[in-house]
């Protein structure tokens, strides 16, 4: 690990000032990903600005929405009574990830900004456009079982590893950001980028932008939701494919649906095409299968990961089937 300085910010403005003054500064949440990457020499910040104490509250609002402070731990969010009552999907997704010890440390903002688990990204001996723009990508023709099947580019086939973000994408979560020029909001689904030619640029945020919270808009009562995660062992493994699904079915017809996939792309993948194919249709396995086909139509497999295409389709169909079975 390279030597670095550690500062604890008094408030958001102070944190932004510290990071603005030092081009090699990074915000520090629980450190469960950033510190690992520093040990691996992938991240080499000169200054860490600890922002975990700035915003830890989970605010249950009267309109049915919830505002979660960026520094709230994954464990705190998953265990929060309001979150469990209003957005059990989020609790389930968080608890499907990592381990108890890691969730105790990891923060909401840190989870959103965590970096890929691509093993070539982690290995300094490999070429990686994410670590070193223009260097090339050794994963595309390498060991790529865990890599992307949607939205990848010739520059990068990495995936975003979060479970929590897949639920946030389905929940239409809004990320609150404080920047040098003031506060703004970004929809979670718009926050992460696809790799394109610059996989090193992973979000629409600037280096000084500080995530202060995540807002979960109120839901109607008709929604049924669940999270299904498929992985190589029963716990403590990243998703090969995961599905966050919410449906509103009335009289056998899908009035509304929200669907997001994890483990398949450089960002939490909102399945817009599948949603469009399902809205207004009869809730049948045939509809689900057609929607899954529509969503995965552009999917492309690599040496080791083509199975994810079929797996994702099956998971979409099964997850919707389970949800609608519950409402029937």
């Amino acid at each position: 690990m390279n030597p670095f300085t550690y500062e604890r910010a008094a408030d958001g403005a102070a944190a932004i000032r510290l990071v603005s003054d030092n081009r090699q500064a990074k915000y520090l949440g629980g450190g469960t990903n950033l510190v690992d990457l520093m040990r691996e020499q992938v991240e080499r910040p000169k200054l860490l600005v600890d922002v975990t104490a700035l915003s830890r509250e989970i605010e249950a609002r009267e309109d049915g929405s919830v505002l979660i402070g960026a520094g709230a731990t994954n464990t705190a969010v998953a265990a929060d009574r309001t979150v469990r009552e209003r957005f059990p999907l989020l609790s389930r997704a968080i608890l499907a990830g990592a381990s108890g010890q890691i969730r105790n440390m990891a923060t909401v903002a840190g989870n959103i900004l965590q970096r890929t688990r691509c093993t070539y990204f982690y290995d300094e001996a490999a070429r990686c456009n994410k670590r070193e723009p223009g260097a090339g990508c050794d994963a595309i023709d390498g060991v790529n079982r865990i890599h992307a099947i949607l939205g990848a580019s010739p520059s990068c086939v990495a995936t975003h590893p979060s479970d929590m973000c897949v639920a946030l994408a389905a929940l239409d979560a809004v990320v609150h950001v404080q920047g040098p020029g003031g506060d703004r909001t970004v929809k979670l689904v718009d926050l992460h980028r696809l790799p394109g030619g610059r996989p090193d640029i992973e979000t629409v945020l600037d280096a000084q932008d500080l995530i202060t919270g995540v807002e979960l808009p109120a839901l109607g009562f008709a929604w049924r939701a669940t999270y299904r995660k498929v992985r190589d062992r029963a716990s403590y493994a990243f998703a090969l494919v995961s599905v966050a699904a919410m449906v509103d079915v009335q009289g056998g017809t899908i009035r509304d649906v929200r669907l997001a996939l994890g483990g398949v792309a450089h960002k939490p993948w909102r399945a817009w095409k599948a949603e469009e194919a399902l809205r207004g249709r009869l809730a049948t396995r045939e509809s689900f299968a057609q929607a899954a086909e529509a969503e995965l139509a552009d999917a492309a497999g690599l040496r080791d990961n083509a199975f994810k295409i079929e797996l994702a389709k099956r998971c979409i169909v099964a997850t919707l089937g389970d949800l609608i079975g519950e409402t029937a």
């Binding site: 690990m1 716990s235 199975f307 099956r314 099964a318």
Partner: protein, 769 residues
């Protein structure tokens, strides 16, 4: 059994007037063989409290004055040479004491390969940091010493190395196109032919002929490979994490050109060995850097360092072909295949061993080959060969049972041999059919549907499978033990053996107490130190029998020495060593137990403060006289998602026949641990090596999957507990048998659940979609 042992034994066998050991025909039986007291009792591990309190001191925890901390830099190419090396930034970094590369490393002899010399511990015979050549991706190219571990870890990243690469063989699929026959397989012939199996196969009423593939695995003991060491003049003091203190000492002495006595190795506690804790580059490099720098060194490989510089289980491709008559009797058994190896080691992964001994086939063909690759030297890893050999053989048996529409256990019963099918030797103790029967009954095997895919619970398909487990009985030659009795009637028994968490020290304490007629708290078992009488390496599930034989020999000498002290006033006067046994803190006549005198009384009357007796174990002739193996039957129930292909093991039972069980508690843990490791082998464990570069891409426990708690169901273990009359204490090794057969039991259960045969490990969900 090694070639060295073979040679030593054939010499000794011809020795004139050799008295047979008490477990051999003609020897006088060991009274403890059948005795039920401390032996067999479920005694908790004596080191347990120390370990949970953090008081057991492991190799990386030994304090030393002026200690430096080492970090290794690993090559990033598989083959080639170093053409430029810049260590200036590293040398200038804070806290750096010394940087060693091939340019300034001391001249060292290459390590002697394990099994080529009696005390060799080398895992590769490549020179260690002696030139610019690179032999595998991950080979250490620099060792850096600093005042703190953090300084060393940082500074080592500042070293810049430029390589000129050479063509390398790093893809097993390509390598297996060019194979060779190894000189031997752990001293056994690489191929065996009995009759004409190929010709019989094609005429058989029923036949299966399948190819199975198994991946590379890496060692991941909880305790990382570590050593703390210092030179005192020309003497090396090494606190190591090793399963072979004497071998490490001898091999290091050869490397550094000093006498064996000048290397003192201590290793009282090891946090898991599994075959991986022998002599690798890190101990050699740390000792070399310490010698040049004049500073004590601690080296603890990070997890990635273990992946890069310590080998593991190698890749194999195996063919098993079985031919059977309509009555189920095997007419042909063929087990052939190729294991990946390197030109610099001798570890051909004995996957064909089970097929040499398990079934009564009329025609047998065994043939093993190796494919050389430019990778880190592979090594022994819990049941090397047998774990993956039983995967192929026992899956094929299941496939044959399916083809014949008979029960898989019944097929095995019909092929139970009367004698060893390849050596022709009598079995010393084989109660495998009893293990099948008891296991089947307790597991509820009769509930298995013969038709695949017949049971389900929602999306989960449920199936049952079984497989035979087998592992050879080994006893290592050359072990000695010393018994020291003191005037207070307490005894210490010493041998340079190893406690790696299995319960060795506890079991031998039980043994010693029973043998000496003392209470457990009156005896101490001393181990893990080359200052003690030479011990046996902890490998090949051999240590318990090896130590027991040495202790029995020492005890014979002890009784003789004690009887010489008794004088005419003792109730024991005039008795010969064979006519006395230990009881109630002393000796008594075997014929007339009332003739008894305590140790305290004997020593007091003789005016002695202590009595010391030491002896070496007799050579392991029993393994040449008999076909000796541990056996078992593994039973598995799985649930397989019809949607995702995820496999969850819902029940498991191991039914073992391993001679006498010496401690019911530690044995159960050994069996369970082996089974859990087997579940990993079956379902998830795999080293991902990039075939283009030979680089391991998942060198961490986040990406290299072993079972977590949620992957492990309740595991029942039962055993026959029938003593083998031809082994010390009637015991067989139990450390490795647990993992054997598990891969096949799971694969056969997956077939029973889904109707899909997965012949390539691990059985990951993509193979079942």
């Amino acid at each position: 059994m090694t070639s060295i042992q073979d040679a030593a034994q054939s010499l000794l066998k011809t020795a004139i007037g050799l008295v047979p050991a008490r477990w051999l025909p003609g020897g006088s039986p060991d009274p403890l063989m059948q005795k039920h007291g401390l032996i067999g009792a479920p005694v908790s591990r004596l080191d347990g409290a120390l370990k949970v309190r953090g008081k057991a001191r492991f190799a990386a925890e030994v304090p030393m004055q002026g200690l430096t901390y080492a970090a290794l830099l690993h090559s990033t190419v598989a083959r080639g040479r170093i053409v430029a090396l810049d260590i200036s930034a590293a040398e200038a970094a804070p806290g750096v004491v010394f940087v060693m590369t091939y340019r300034n490393a001391p001249r060292m002899a290459s390590p002697a390969l394990m099994n080529t010399k009696p005390k060799a511990a080398g895992t590769s015979n490549l020179p260690v940091m002696q030139d610019a050549e690179i032999h595998w991706n991950g080979e250490p190219v620099a060792v850096l010493l600093a005042d703190t571990q953090e300084q060393a870890d940082h500074a080592v990243t500042l070293i810049r190395v430029t390589y000129e690469t050479a063509p390398a063989i790093t893809d097993f699929d390509a390598a297996k196109g060019s194979t060779r026959v190894p000189a031997n397989i752990l001293g056994e012939p690489p191929s065996i032919e009995r009759g004409n199996a190929e010709a019989t196969l094609v005429q058989a009423a029923f036949q299966v002929d399948c190819t199975y593939a198994t991946p590379a695995h890496n060692h991941n003991a909880i305790e990382l490979h570590a050593a703390t060491l210092a030179w005192e003049g020309d003497k090396l003091i090494l606190h190591d994490a090793t399963q072979m203190v004497n071998n490490v000492a001898w091999t290091l002495s050869q490397i550094f050109g000093i006498k064996e006595e000048q290397v003192h190795v201590r290793s009282p506690y090891v946090g898991g060995g599994f075959g991986g804790k022998s002599l690798w580059n890190h101990q050699i490099l740390a000792a070399a850097a310490s010698r040049v720098s004049g500073r004590p060194v601690r080296i603890m490989l990070p997890r990635e360092g273990v992946f890069r510089s310590v080998g593991g289980r190698t890749m194999t491709e195996q063919r098993v072909a079985l031919g059977a008559r309509s009555d189920g009797k095997l007419t042909a058994l063929i087990h052939t295949g190729t294991a990946a190896m390197t030109p610099h080691n001798e570890c051909p992964e004995q996957f064909s061993f089970p097929a040499r001994h398990l079934y009564a086939a009329e025609n047998i063909m065994i043939a093993q080959r190796v494919a050389d690759m430019n990778i880190v030297a592979n090594t022994f890893m819990r049941a090397p060969g047998e774990s993956i050999g039983t995967f192929a053989l026992e899956c094929a048996m299941d496939e044959l049972a399916e083809a014949m529409q008979i029960d898989p256990i019944e097929l095995r019963r019909r092929n139970e041999p009367a004698k060893d099918p390849t050596s022709g030797n009598e079995f010393s103790s084989r109660h495998l059919t009893e293990a099948y029967g008891r296991g089947a009954e307790q597991f509820g095997w009769e509930k298995r549907s013969a038709t695949p895919g017949a049971r389900r619970d929602g999306e989960w398909l449920i199936g049952m499978g079984m497989a035979t487990a087998t592992y050879p009985y080994y006893r290592m030659p050359g072990g000695a033990a010393r018994i020291r009795l003191t005037a207070d009637g307490r005894a210490t028994v010493s041998t340079a053996a190893h406690e790696m968490g299995m319960g060795t020290a506890t079991v031998q304490t039980q043994h010693i107490a029973e043998r000496l007629g003392l209470a457990m708290d009156q005896v101490v078992f001393e181990h893990g130190d080359t200052a003690l009488p030479p011990g046996s390496m902890a490998g090949g599930s051999s240590q318990t029998a090896s130590i027991a034989a040495a202790i029995i020999a020492a005890h014979d000498a002890f009784k003789a020495a004690l009887l010489k002290l008794v004088g005419n006033d003792s109730p024991l006067a005039g008795l010969k060593p064979d006519a006395v046994e230990a009881r109630d803190g002393g000796l008594c006549s075997s014929e007339e137990p009332d003739k008894h005198e305590t140790y305290v009384s004997i020593l007091r009357r003789a005016g002695r403060e202590e009595l010391v007796a030491e002896a070496s174990a007799p050579p392991p002739l029993e393994a040449q006289e008999f076909s000796m193996h541990s056996y078992g039957a593994q039973f598995c129930e799985v649930r397989v998602s019809e949607i995702t292909g995820e496999v969850r093991v819902s029940r498991f039972l191991g039914s073992f026949d391993c001679g006498r069980i010496l401690n019911a508690k530690t044995a159960a843990s050994q069996f369970r641990g082996g089974i859990i490791m087997g579940l990993g082998l079956a379902l998830m464990e795999e080293t991902h090596r990039d075939p283009r570069t030979g680089r391991i891409m998942n060198p961490s426990l986040a990406e290299y999957h072993v079972p977590v708690h949620m992957d492990v169901p309740k595991i029942d273990v039962i055993w026959t507990d029938i003593p083998d009359p031809h082994s010390p204490l009637g015991a067989h090794g139990i450390g490795e048998i647990g993992i054997t057969g598990v891969g096949a039991a799971v694969a056969n259960a997956v077939y029973n659940a889904t109707g899909k045969r997965i012949r390539k490990l691990p059985i990951s969900l993509d193979k079942l979609l």
